[in-house]
């Protein structure tokens, strides 16, 4: 399965029977609106999911014990400068400097305080600092592309970084991912754990990206797109994006909390 899509050294034009963007677009179209507000686990247009999605329904269970709590993180875990991805090396990274900030709340709208947020991303050229990334775009010696922070007392996280570039991948011929930042979040319960991706408004690659489209409901997909916010933009320095994140509901009662 994997090998079928490992066509690195091939000249695409010489490959007769391969999946085109038009094929993928057709598959995306067929599945549009077929899932709920979460991504479909079984989503064939994203080829790597074919052998990796469970086929049985998830088993509904009441959370108990440790599942009613999330792990705690603090200043022992995260240094104050880890939220600035532009100061991790001797020089300044290339690209468009941005700030990304937003509020993490639970399903009832309560802020998720002092909790860990982790991000990772490609550089401005669309290249990851990762052994497996073979995209022939330059690495930036001044940009690694990983950061962490803790939300503040109001549930707010803030990262300063570089706007990532779009990048090619081998799902099908001429497949390109829209620019995105990977986010990892914890809530107040174990059950709220979320790993997702933040996108930039108006990206022309949205319609043809099987990962973004694995969320087949447009309203839900929209929740993954940050908003440009001029009030966050700093004169002659950086552009500002706002991305608020709602986690699922909590299961603990206020009594258990105290």
């Amino acid at each position: 399965m994997e090998g079928k899509y490992r066509l690195a050294a091939l000249d695409w034009s010489s490959v007769a029977n391969v999946t085109t963007q038009a094929d993928i677009n057709r598959e995306i179209e067929e599945l549009r609106g077929s899932g709920g507000p979460q991504p479909r686990l079984d989503y064939p247009p994203y080829r790597s999911s074919v052998l990796r999605h469970p086929t049985r329904e998830k088993h509904l269970v009441d959370p108990e014990g440790v599942e009613l709590w999330a792990p705690c993180f603090g200043h022992a875990d995260v240094g104050g400068t880890e939220s600035d991805l532009t100061i991790q090396h001797a020089g300044e990274p290339l690209g468009e400097r941005i700030v990304v900030t937003g509020r993490v709340v639970d399903g009832e709208g309560r802020p998720v305080r002092n909790q860990l947020v982790e991000i990772w991303q490609a550089n401005a050229s669309g290249r990851y600092w990762h052994q497996r990334d073979q995209h022939p775009a330059p690495l930036d010696p001044n940009f690694t592309g990983a950061g962490r922070c803790l939300t503040d007392g109001d549930g707010v996280y803030t990262f300063q970084t570089i706007r990532p570039g779009a990048y090619p991948w081998r799902n099908h011929v001429n497949a390109w991912r829209p620019a995105h930042i990977h986010f990892s979040l914890f809530g107040t319960d174990f059950t709220q754990r979320l790993v997702t991706q933040m996108y930039f408004p108006g990206d022309p690659l949205f319609d043809q990206d099987p990962i973004y489209q694995s969320v087949t409901d447009q309203k839900a997909r929209d929740l993954l797109v940050a908003a440009y916010d001029h009030s966050l933009t700093t004169p002659e320095y950086r552009l500002g994006y706002r991305w608020d994140i709602v986690l699922s509901g909590t299961h603990r009662t206020p009594l258990e909390d105290s």
């Binding site: 088993h59 014990g65 022992a76 990762h130 690694t144 790993v195 997702t196 997909r221 299961h251």
Partner: protein
Amino acid sequence: MTSAPGQTVGPFFHLGLPFDGGNLLVPPGHPQGVRLHGRVFDGEGNGVPDALIEIWQTDPSGRVPRETGSIRRDGYTFTGWGRAQTDDGGHYWFSTLLPGSPFFAVTVFARGLTDRLFTRAYLPDPGPDALLDGLEPARRATLITTREEHGLLFDIHLQGEGETVFLSYPGQAR
């Protein structure tokens, strides 16, 4: 409020998520330490080399840890939380303590998996249990670790033969 959809961790999560000592809830060789380990398999029975497993557990007395410090471990504090990536064969392992409560809470991430999956890894020979008792024997068995000389074995099958029982919780959108 509608919760934000998940998205796959993708192939490059090693850049952002794993950290030194992530899988060492206690240092290897700890007198009460056990190894919790296993392999993650795809629908054709091949190991998944780009999966990430997180565990969250009580301490040996059954208490839910409230201590920080999982990312920069001090070697003494038991935080109850760990993170391990799979190797080329799909194998992951943790050095930890036996929880005082019946199971480890487990989260599974992988390239090709559009959203994270939750499951439980029960200690061997579990007593009466609301979840386990509602499952047919073959399904039930996928949630129970196997005792070994140095700890516990817990394989995770994402699909197909012996597919692990994955969980959803009330109020969560499917």
